[in-house]
Amino acid sequence: MYPDKTTAAGLVDAAHLAEVQGRSLWKDARQRFMRNKAAVAGLVALVLITLFAFFGGFLAQWSTEEIDWPLMGNVAQAGGPSIANGHYFGVDELGRDLYARTVQGTRISLLVGFVGAAIAVIVGTLYGAIAGYFGGRTDGVMMRIVDILMAIPFMFVLILMLVIFGRSILMLFIGIGLISWLDMSRIARGQTLTLKNKEFVEAAIAIGVRPMTIILRHIVPNLLGLVIVYATLLVPTMIITESFISFLGLGVQEPATSLGALISAGAGQMQYGVIWQLAFPLFFFIVTLFAFFFVGDGLRDALDPKDR
């Protein structure tokens, strides 16, 4: 039954056996995630939406900026969704193809979501890990700064920044990223506080590894599970923030567009009976958010050891 470890062949057998039985944390997590039907459905939806956002443009018969002149004065009657004239989702109030614009808007919203979340995660994790690891007065000062920043209404400051430094996607990225690292840093700090008393950190200290190296090599990788969960839940928040600002007309500038800007335009036009201008962007917005929330919840169940 058990391999005889005194012979060479037996040792190889034992090694194989150990290999087969090994169940890593990640494999475990993947299995738990796969059992969660809503999360898997969310993941599939997310992949489809990403494909749509990045490759959907190849199916479009019109570009995002082309104006279909014959339809322009007649959008309410003739501008609806139709396969025949190539406007799958209809046209917007200026006679531009809504399909191409929805593809573009989804792409920009996803990009803002991912980049914003990435900035938040990188800054927040490092900040929290450093504060938690060094502890003492450093920790006190760093977390007090977070407390103070948290009390500031950042949506207003962000709009103030967009007005002062000009509206651009880059500014939006920076502004949104700046808002959102605060929560992340608190979470990372809390987890670091428990991690830094573990034996492997003690061992690293004992052999004289420098503090920053310990943080990057030993603390941060162990925060990864938590970070991934919160990052997935951050992306939809970022998308909502961006859409909020674009809805007010202060975000992405024409001719570029985002889901929020499209929803805003559609909402402004709907009294003329052009309901598709609201419906299609809204559909993609809601499905994207739902998908992210479900995937996030699934990942939390799979990776967060607290909730098991």
């Binding site: 103070i148 009390a151 500031i152 949506m155 400051v157 002062i164 909402a267 609201l278 958010l289």
Partner: protein
């Protein structure tokens, strides 16, 4: 308790000052001054204007003047866009409107949210629970700027029951749609938080004791379970307040209710920095004070907190 409040104030006051200084620095960094127009003013006129508004003073003097004026007299200076009015006038015009529907949204969100959460927890794993959870998950992806057009589409354009905008001194017909649009997502969050904390409380030993001595369910819920279950909800009210104030910008823009949000966005488009800063600072101060109140309430209700 007194010391606790003092300690909280000791954090709140510097935060307010930092906010004011930060906004001032942002505004100062902005390109162009308030009197740069298409047609350049004669240098002498410009100099007089700048002297009148103190813009010829050095940086530190301007900053300290601004901070002192704001702190001591709530004076945010003159508005650049509405030349005959000060920022304080503009805020005073919009603020009562925002306060009115903000207050009602808050009341609706808390009452409906808490009831929904409590019902879901009591009827755990029944269809009532699933309906409540479904509503709160659905409302999560319907932020106010999505809710507002949908409500107008259904209740104004299709059914024709309610006006799709305007204020008219706050008559109830004009209040309903803004209040629903603003409160939905917070109501959902409150319901979710109430449900999970209520479930936890209902499993606690003292609830079992209350059941064992034969108390009717409604007395157990109202007399014993509700207070401890409200603690997480209470701590959510701080962030909810911020989100609600932020959301009021969308409400004002979409429903043309004329609150401070409308002035905020108009000023953002016309680069009226003074008004934007004034509103940002006002909202910041309100947020900080509100968080302070929530913290104190929390410490007062929760016996576990020592201060």
């Amino acid at each position: 308790m007194f010391n606790f409040v003092l300690k909280r104030l000791a954090i709140a006051i510097p935060t307010i000052l930092i906010l004011i200084v930060l906004s001032f620095m942002l505004m100062f960094a902005a390109p162009g001054g308030p009197f740069n127009s298409e047609r350049p003013l004669p240098p002498q006129v410009l100099a007089n204007l700048e002297a009148r508004y103190g813009l010829d003073q050095p940086y530190w003097k301007q900053m300290s003047d601004y901070v002192v004026n704001v702190v001591t007299r709530f004076d945010f200076g003159p508005s650049f866009q509405y030349r005959d009015r000060t920022v304080t006038d503009v805020i005073m015009q919009g603020f009562p409107v925002t306060l009115t529907y903000g207050f009602w949204s808050f009341v609706v969100a808390v009452i409906v949210g808490v009831s929904l959460g409590v019902v879901a927890a009591i009827k755990h794993n029944t269809w009532l629970d699933y309906v409540a959870v479904g509503i709160s998950v659905g409302a999560q992806v319907l932020p106010n700027f999505v809710m507002a057009p949908i409500l107008v589409l259904v209740f104004t354009l299709w059914l024709g029951w309610l006006p799709g905008g305007g204020w008219q001194g706050g008559q109830w017909q004009y209040l309903i749609l803004p209040v629903i649009a603003l409160s939905t997502s917070y109501m959902a969050s409150i319901a979710r938080i109430t449900r999970s904390s209520m479930l936890e409380v209902l499993n606690a030993g003292f609830i079992r004791t209350a059941r064992a001595k034969g108390l009717p369910t409604w007395r157990i819920i109202l007399g014993h379970a509700l207070k401890p279950a409200m603690l997480p909800v209470l701590s959510y009210l701080g962030p909810a307040f911020v989100l609600m104030i932020t959301g009021s910008v969308v409400i004002d823009v979409y429903f043309s209710t004329g609150g401070i949000g409308q002035f905020f966005v108009n000023s953002a488009f016309s680069r009226d920095y003074a008004v934007i800063m004034g509103i940002t600072i006002l909202v910041g101060v309100l947020t900080i004070l509100f968080n302070l109140v929530v913290d104190v309430l929390y410490a007062w209700i929760d016996p576990k907190i020592r201060y």
